[in-house]
């Protein structure tokens, strides 16, 4: 599947969890293609950070956006062309820090975009400062004596905001992750995939994750159960935590229309304008 990858030199650190995400995503694309969703329908984006480099590596249409905004960029793309399957790759600093408002509102409005969060619990590319998901006591260059804040839980936060598809994957379990990603993209509404992604340089959690990560056997019965499971720390469940149906934003906004593909002919538009400027 080499042709899904560009010629850009990969500059992730050897062993970085991002490789697993890249692999899983390619696998997910293959599965989608098998289901008839061609890659030309995909539109991807990413924030700035180590995670963001995936936008350089994946040979898919998209927008390498700015720190914390790729989900907003993708909401705009979706609103303009709802036929696209849009995916935002985000970092934990990116999405839970700088861009948390966009995350909450994308979930709230249940817009059909997929957010894949490379959750390494550090600002990787800016040399390891603590992020909103960093553990209490985490020592980074802005918190040399250890972080004094308790982390946010991305899953329960997104559930609280109204997300209709919430899942967690692990970059080292690429097959499982590919499956989740494919499901997330297929889901008709806002999907959030939190990916445990060890950063071998600043917060290497491989050993810990390998020990505690436990796949869910099935989707939990309801949101309360999803929340309970998402809060577990000693046994760290991965899989789909929550999946629900709710009206999708673009359809609620303008029904079965596509702003760029079904543009009103300019003549009609001008006739409409003429009506509005006629006394």
């Amino acid at each position: 599947m080499g042709e899904l990858i560009t010629y850009a030199e990969n500059t992730w650190c050897p062993g970085c969890g991002n490789f697993g995400i890249l692999k899983a995503f390619q696998e997910a694309v293959r599965r989608l293609e098998a289901e008839g969703i061609g890659r030309e329908k995909l539109f991807i984006s990413s924030g700035i950070g180590c995670h963001g480099k995936i936008a350089d590596y994946l040979k898919l249409n998209g927008f390498y956006s700015i720190h914390g905004r790729s989900m907003a960029t993708m909401e705009g793309a979706k609103i303009a062309n709802p036929d696209l399957k849009v995916i935002a790759f985000v970092g934990d600093g990116d999405a839970m820090g700088e861009g948390i408002a966009h995350m909450i509102f994308a979930a709230k409005r249940n817009i059909d975009i997929t957010v894949i969060m490379h959750d390494n619990r550090v600002y990787g590319l800016t040399t390891g400062q603590f992020t909103p998901t960093s553990v209490l006591g985490y020592k980074g260059p802005s918190t040399p004596k250890g972080s004094i804040e308790e982390p946010l839980n991305p899953l329960t936060m997104m559930l609280e905001a109204g997300a209709t598809f919430v899942a967690r994957g692990y970059s080292a379990k690429t097959d499982h992750l590919a499956d989740i990603i494919a499901q997330a993209i297929m889901h008709d509404g806002f999907s959030f995939v939190d990916v445990l992604q060890p950063c071998v340089i600043f917060f290497n959690m491989y050993e810990h994750y390998n020990e505690v990560v436990t796949p869910l056997e099935s989707v939990p019965a309801d949101r309360d159960e999803a929340v309970r499971l998402a809060r577990l720390e000693d046994r760290l469940p991965i899989g789909v935590f929550y999946k629900a149906e709710k009206p999708e934003y673009c359809r609620s906004l303008y029904g079965d229309w596509n702003p760029v593909a079904q543009r009103m002919p300019l003549e009609e538009r001008r006739a409409a304008v003429t009506r509005l400027v006629t006394p």
Partner: protein
């Protein structure tokens, strides 16, 4: 200083229907074939306080309200006190005698008491102000009824009899005092914000994004109300940062996108504005100014954002900045900017002011004359988003497509892949700079400067102040050459420099436009006529100031 202008001023509390009364008057006049200019002065509050609406009308051109009115209707005491000095010689002051007591000047009519015969008396008295006007300009009761029905539409079973009651009270005092000539034909009345919205629509807009902020909000409201007729996707998201990033995302898949806000909102958008410069995203941003800095004076007008508008965003990248001088121009200019941003794939700021955004006037608009975007599209072969071309413009292509399309906020190569290679950085910066040269070259063939008048001393102005200046020249019967750069960036030096030194008129406290002219064109201001109390110029006063400066 006699003009053929008739001015109607109605003042009262927010919630009393003041603006509506002004608008009804405006429609009455335009229905008579006259031209109209309506300016609404309101505070940042929802009920109470002091609002007023001034409508000036003439058979010929009128591009400003006048501070002194022929007919003033004061619905409450504060309006009475504020506006009793605003009655023209031979004008009439009518006041609500239930709100104003122990005052001698003017004609008292018990507007509130009369309204108490009907439900919601407080919200109805604006209708009374219309009835007074109807009587004063000699409308018949049938004509008044028709006017109320056409303009208010709701609650007619109370509004019409109330209007009649007031008409009967007023007629003996003011009946037929003003004879207004009919003009050639009825014209539409648009606010500046409506013109901007409609111009964008005529120019092919697909999606409008905005977070409410005075004085830009009514663009959002207008689009929301007309989303179905115009087939525009209208989105009001969580904040301004979402607004611009969504708009950029929309543009990146081919939607003609626009957004609007005031200074504070645009200030939040600058990071993404800079991204639009780097990624070469076509995007029109409407900046409707109010007095700043910061929250400032939200419901008033000012032109102090000029430099802010010009230099948004970090780094070097090309952009358009333009400002419409009239409401009609706002229509065409918005469409034109949509064309330009798509032609050159870079962002634009349409800078305007509350005075244009929220004032209304009669316009004659031909939607077919609006420019339509005609971007350069990819025509075959391997696609590269940032293809290095001689003129710096790379063809566009949108998904779905079998090709690789990558937009990028990082410095990049032709295909849009991130680069840190020195030669590559230089090449892309050169490409964008070449694009700027192409823009300038193109703009040389475009209409970038308006010149009004055929001789006389030069007056420089821009934005909504153009309307004030033109009216001041009429009001003061002054011969002058008014030079208005429509485009501020690229600055049309080739047009401007020929006019030499002149008088500068602007709404700012430090004379930013005069400074800009000096810095850009070496033009020295003989005088800088400034106003910066949040209010637009009064043509009569401005005429005096211009005469003095000449």
């Amino acid at each position: 200083m006699e003009t053929k202008i008739f001015t109607y001023l109605v003042g009262g509390k927010a919630g009393e229907g003041v603006k509506k009364a002004g608008s009804v008057a405006a429609h009455l006049f335009s229905g008579m074939g006259r031209r109209v200019f309506q300016m609404d002065d309101y505070q940042s509050l929802i009920r109470g306080g002091h609002n007023f609406s001034v409508v000036s009308t003439a058979v010929g051109d009128v591009t400003s309200h006048y501070e002194k009115a022929d007919l003033v209707v004061a619905l409450d005491k504060r309006s009475y006190q504020m506006h009793k000095g605003h009655v023209k010689e031979n004008g009439i002051l009518v006041y609500n005698s239930n709100a104003v007591r122990g005052e001698a000047e003017g004609i008292g009519i018990p507007l509130t008491k009369t309204a108490r015969r009907y439900p919601n008396p407080g919200m109805r008295i604006g209708v009374g102000a219309v009835a007074v006007l109807a009587a004063a300009v000699g409308l018949s009761k049938d004509e008044l009824k028709e006017l109320i029905e056409r303009e208010y539409r709701r609650d007619l079973e109370n509004n019409v009899p109330y209007a009649f009651d007031v008409y009967d009270l007023a007629y003996p005092e003011v009946g037929g005092r003003f004879k207004l000539e009919h003009g050639d034909k009825p014209r539409a009345i648009l606010s500046g914000n409506q013109a901007i919205a409609l111009g964008a629509a005529a120019g092919g807009l697909d999606a409008y994004f905005a977070y409410p902020m005075t004085p830009a909000s009514s663009i959002l409201h207008y689009f929301a109300a007309h989303a179905d007729d115009l087939k525009v996707a209208v989105v009001h998201p969580e904040n301004e940062i979402a607004v611009i990033n969504m708009a950029i995302g929309a543009a990146s898949v081919g939607a003609r996108a626009m957004l609007g806000s005031s200074g504070g909102g645009l200030a939040l958008m600058q990071e993404a504005f800079s991204m639009a410069g780097m990624a070469e995203v076509p995007l029109v941003c409407v900046l409707s100014s109010r007095p700043g800095p910061s929250t400032g004076v939200p419901t008033y007008t000012d032109q102090g954002d000029l430099y802010f508008a010009l230099y948004q965003g970090h780094g070097e990248f090309p952009r358009f900045v333009a400002s419409p001088g009239t409401i009609e121009e706002a229509f065409y200019l918005t469409a034109e900017l949509l064309d330009l941003v798509w032609r050159f794939q870079t962002p634009a700021i349409l800078v305007t002011e509350k005075h244009l955004s929220e004032s209304s006037m009669t316009v004659e608009i031909e939607p077919d004359k609006a420019r339509r975007p005609d971007p350069l599209m990819h025509s075959g072969g391997e696609y590269k988003r940032y293809l290095e071309t001689e003129d710096g413009i790379s063809p566009l292509l949108f998904p779905p497509s079998g090709q690789f399309i990558r937009w990028n906020s990082y410095e990049h190569d032709e295909a849009g892949i991130t680069t840190e290679v020195p030669e590559q950085i230089v090449r892309m910066r050169d490409k964008r700079n070449r694009k700027y040269e192409t823009m300038v070259e193109y703009m040389r063939s475009q209409h970038t400067v308006n010149v009004f008048g055929d001789g006389g001393p030069v007056i420089y102005t821009y934005g909504s102040t153009v309307m004030s200046v033109l009216e001041a020249l009429r009001a003061g019967d002054i011969r002058a050459t008014v030079v208005q750069p429509i485009y501020l960036e690229p600055f049309p030096l080739w047009e401007i420099e020929r006019y030499g030194d002149g008088i500068v008129v602007e709404l700012s406290s430090t004379g930013v436009f005069a400074r800009y002219l000096r810095e850009k064109a070496g033009i020295n201001a003989k005088a800088v006529i400034r106003r910066y109390d949040g209010r637009p110029f009064d043509p009569v006063e401005l005429a005096e100031q211009i005469k003095e400066a000449m």
